[in-house]
C-alpha cells in the first residue's frame, strides 16, 4: 500500500506515538539489562520502571505508584482482577457484571457461571446506558465482585463509574472496572472515584501492544495470577519488559499533557464526521447515547446494507473502520453490545464504528465523508430491501 491509510479504527488499536518509540530505543539497544539483576547494569534499570509506574499512576489519579502492577495486556489485567477478587471473597458465590462487557470480562464471567457462580448480567438501556440504582439493586449479601467497564469499546458509551463506585462502597462490594477504552481518552481520578481495581492497556493510547496495567487500591486484598519470580513485588511474575514499560510511561505522560485539548479537537473531528455523514447519506441511525460517550467514537448504522460489505468497500478506498456485523467476526451472531441495547438485528448487521485519535486529520475525515456516500449508495443499489427513493 503506497497511500497512507485513513485509520478510523483506534478503538481496536492505535499508532505508536513517535515520542513513545524514541523512549523505547535505549532499552532495545544499549540498556538491555534485567532490572532484577544484582549488578548495576541491570539493577539500575528499575528506576526507569518506577518512573513509568509513576506516570501511569498519574494518568489515572492513583494516590501511590505502588498501586500499579504492569501486565502483558488488558485481558491479563481483567482476568487477574477477577480471579483475585474471588479468592479474596471465599464463600461468596454471586458476581455482577453487564451484558455489554469486553470478552475479557464477559467470557470469564460465563466460565465462572458454568463453574457454579451465580451471575447477575445487568442490562443496558437503548442508548447503552447503565443506571447506578440498577447496580445497587443487584447487590446481595454474598456478592463477591462487581465488574463493569468504564467506557464501551463499540459505542464509546460511558458508565457512571463514580456513582456506581459509591454505591458498591456503601455495601462493601469489591469493584473492578475495565477502563481499557477510557484511559487516555477521558480524565480518570481514582483519588476521588472509589474503585478497587482498574484495568488499562497501553496500545489503546499510543504505546505498543504487549503492555497493560492493573491498578489495585492500597488495602485491597490481592492474589497474583502468574506465580513465579518476585517481579512487581511478587504481584505479577515474569521478566520485567523494560522497553514496553518505558513506552507505556511515555504514552501516559503524553496523554496527560494532551488530554484536555484532544477531548475538544478529537470530538470536533468526530462531530464533523457524523454531521458530514448525516448530510450526505439518508437512512442512518446513530447508535449509543450522544452525551455520555468517548470523544473519539462514532457508531452509525446504515439501513438496508450489511456491515462487512461496507468495510470491504471502505478498505478498497483505503479507509479502515470496524463493524458490529456478524459477518465481520468469526461468529454468526452480530455484536452482543448492540443486541443488549435492543437494536434490531438488521441494524446490528449494518453498524459501523469509526474511532479517531490525536493523529486523525481534518483531511482524513473529509475523505471519509467524500467516499462513504458512494459506498453506501452502491451497496443499496445491490440490496433487495432498499426503497425506490434511495436507489440511484
Amino acid at each position: 500500500m503506497t497511500q497512507p491509510v485513513i485509520y478510523l479504527d483506534n478503538n481496536a488499536t492505535t499508532r505508536v506515538a513517535p515520542e513513545v518509540f524514541e523512549s523505547m530505543v535505549p532499552f532495545l539497544t544499549d540498556l538491555y539489562g534485567n532490572p532484577s539483576s544484582m549488578h548495576d547494569f541491570g539493577g539500575n534499570l528499575q528506576e526507569y520502571v518506577e518512573e513509568a509506574r509513576a506516570q501511569v499512576a498519574a494518568l489515572i489519579g492513583a494516590e501511590d505508584p505502588s498501586e500499579i502492577i504492569f501486565t502483558s495486556c488488558g485481558t491479563e489485567a481483567d482476568n487477574t482482577a477477577i480471579a483475585s477478587a474471588l479468592r479474596a471473597n471465599p464463600g461468596k458465590k454471586h458476581i455482577i457484571t453487564s451484558k455489554v462487557e469486553h470478552p475479557a470480562v464477559l467470557n470469564y464471567f460465563e466460565y465462572l457461571e458454568n463453574s457454579g457462580y451465580e451471575v447477575t448480567w445487568l442490562p443496558v438501556d437503548g442508548d447503552g446506558l447503565l443506571d447506578a440504582d440498577r447496580v445497587e439493586a443487584a447487590i446481595r449479601d454474598d456478592t463477591a465482585l462487581c465488574s463493569l467497564m468504564w467506557a464501551n469499546n463499540e459505542t464509546g458509551v460511558i458508565f457512571p463509574i463514580d456513582q456506581i463506585g459509591e454505591r458498591l462502597k456503601k455495601h462493601g462490594v469489591m469493584f473492578h472496572t475495565d477502563a481499557v477504552q477510557a484511559v487516555g481518552k477521558i480524565p480518570i481520578d481514582l483519588s476521588r472515584t472509589p474503585v478497587d481495581m482498574l484495568s488499562l492497556s497501553g496500545h489503546k493510547f499510543h504505546a505498543p501492544k504487549g503492555i497493560g496495567a492493573l491498578y489495585v487500591r492500597r488495602g485491597t486484598m490481592f492474589y497474583p495470577y502468574l506465580i513465579g519470580g518476585h517481579q512487581e513485588r511478587g504481584r505479577r511474575s515474569g521478566t520485567t519488559p523494560v522497553p514496553l514499560i518505558a513506552a507505556i510511561g511515555t504514552a501516559a505522560k503524553l496523554a496527560i499533557a494532551s488530554m484536555e485539548s484532544e477531548a475538544t479537537s478529537v470530538s470536533a473531528l468526530r462531530d464533523r464526521l457524523e454531521e458530514g455523514i448525516r448530510a450526505t447519506v439518508p437512512g442512518i441511525v446513530f447508535v449509543g447515547d450522544r452525551k455520555n460517550r468517548l470523544p473519539n467514537t462514532a457508531n452509525i448504522s446504515f439501513e438496508y446494507v450489511e456491515g462487512e460489505a461496507i468495510l470491504l468497500m471502505l478498505s478498497e478506498e483505503n479507509i479502515a473502520a470496524s463493524s458490529g456485523s456478524a459477518c465481520s467476526s468469526d461468529s454468526l451472531e452480530p455484536s452482543h453490545v448492540l443486541r443488549a441495547m435492543g437494536l434490531p438485528f438488521e441494524l446490528c448487521h449494518a453498524s459501523i464504528r469509526f474511532s479517531l485519535s490525536r493523529y486523525t486529520t481534518v483531511s482524513d475525515i473529509d475523505i471519509a465523508i467524500e467516499k462513504l456516500p458512494g459506498v453506501i449508495a452502491n451497496l443499496r443499489n445491490i440490496s433487495p430491501f432498499t426503497p425506490p427513493e434511495m436507489r440511484g
Partner: protein, 290 residues
C-alpha cells in the same frame, strides 16, 4: 477478522455482474432476510419454448462473499436451460470464485437455494405443497430446516456439526440446536453407511482446544470423541450411538444397533463417559435415553 478472499471473489463483490431485476421476470426466487444477515432475490427471463435462461439478475443484502456468490450464480446460469441450471451445485459456485472461506460456504448455499426457489416459481409448483416439503425448522435463529441441513450434508459430504454451521449457518448463533443438528447428521451418515464399518483409528490425538470452552466448542469436541474414539469401538460389536443433547455437563445419548439390545450396557456407558471425561478434562453425566 479479515477473511482471505480470492481475487475472483474480490472482483465479484467490487464489480458485481447482473445487479438488479429482470423486467417482466418469468421466475423469481427470494431467500433469506435482513434479520438473518443475508438475503438474495434472483429474477430470471426464460425462453418458454426452450426453457433456456435468457437473462438473470440479482439483488443481495449481505457480506462480500454473499454478493460475489450471487454475481457468480447469474454469470454461470445465463444461457443454460432450467434443467442444466438445477444441476449447478453450491460447490460449483464456490469453484467458479476460486473458492470461498469455509465459514462463508453458506453464501454459496444461499445462491443455490435462490436458484431452486426461482425454478419452483417458474414451474408454478404448488406453494403449499412446497412448504410441506421444506421440513421442520431446526435452527430458529437462522430459520434453517431439517431438510436444508440434510441437503447440505449430502451435497457437500459434510461429516461434522461445525461444517454444517459453515454451510447453512444453523447452530451458529445461540447454539441450542447443535444437539439436534448432530442427530440429523448421524441419521444421514448412518443412511449412507447402513452398517457401521469397523474402521481403523487414524491415531491423530484429539486435542482439547485452548481457552474457554463455549457450548459450541464443547459439542464439537464431544462429537469428535464420539466419531473418532467411540463409534469405531462400538462398530466392532455392530452397535452405534446417537448424540441427542447436551445440557451443561449432562450428555444425552441413545445406544443403537446391537448396543441397544445389549445386556452389557453399563460397561459400555462407563467406557464412553471415561473417554469423554479424559478429553474434556471435566466430569460428565452420561444419560442413555431409551
Amino acid at each position: 477478522m479479515a477473511w482471505k478472499y480470492s481475487k475472483k471473489v474480490r472482483d465479484h463483490y467490487l464489480h458485481p455482474r447482473n445487479v438488479g431485476e429482470v423486467n417482466n421476470a418469468d421466475a423469481i426466487g427470494e431467500i433469506g432476510s435482513m434479520v438473518c444477515g443475508d438475503a438474495l432475490k434472483l429474477t430470471l427471463s426464460v425462453d418458454k419454448t426452450t426453457d433456456r435462461i435468457l437473462d438473470a439478475k440479482f439483488q443481495t443484502y449481505g457480506c462480500g462473499s454473499a454478493i460475489a456468490s450471487s454475481s457468480a450464480l447469474t454469470e454461470i446460469i445465463i444461457g443454460m436451460t432450467i434443467d442444466e441450471a438445477l444441476n449447478v451445485s453450491n460447490q460449483d459456485l464456490a469453484e467458479y470464485l476460486d473458492g470461498l472461506p469455509e465459514e462463508k460456504m453458506h453464501c454459496s448455499v444461499m445462491g443455490k437455494e435462490a436458484l431452486e426457489a426461482a425454478v419452483a416459481n417458474y414451474r408454478g409448483e404448488d406453494h403449499s405443497h412446497e412448504e410441506e416439503d421444506e421440513g421442520k425448522i431446526v435452527c430458529h435463529c437462522f430459520a434453517v430446516t431439517d431438510r436444508q441441513i440434510e441437503k447440505a450434508i449430502t451435497e457437500n459430504s459434510l461429516t461434522t456439526v461445525g461444517q454444517i454451521t459453515n454451510y447453512t449457518k444453523a447452530g451458529g448463533a445461540c447454539g441450542s440446536c447443535l444437539g439436534k443438528i448432530d442427530t440429523i447428521l448421524q441419521s444421514v451418515l448412518s443412511r449412507s453407511r447402513p452398517m457401521p464399518e469397523p474402521r481403523q483409528n487414524d491415531f491423530e490425538p484429539i486435542v482439547k482446544p485452548e481457552g474457554k470452552m463455549s457450548m459450541f466448542k464443547k459439542i464439537r469436541l464431544i462429537e469428535e470423541v464420539l466419531e473418532k474414539e467411540i463409534r469405531p469401538a462400538l462398530g466392532y460389536d455392530h452397535g452405534g450411538l446417537e448424540l441427542l443433547d447436551i445440557e451443561g455437563n449432562t450428555v444425552y445419548i441413545r445406544l443403537t444397533g446391537k448396543c441397544h439390545a445389549c445386556t452389557n450396557n453399563d460397561s459400555t456407558l462407563a467406557f464412553i463417559s471415561s473417554q469423554l471425561e479424559n478429553i474434556l478434562g471435566e466430569p460428565i453425566d452420561l444419560q442413555n435415553l431409551e
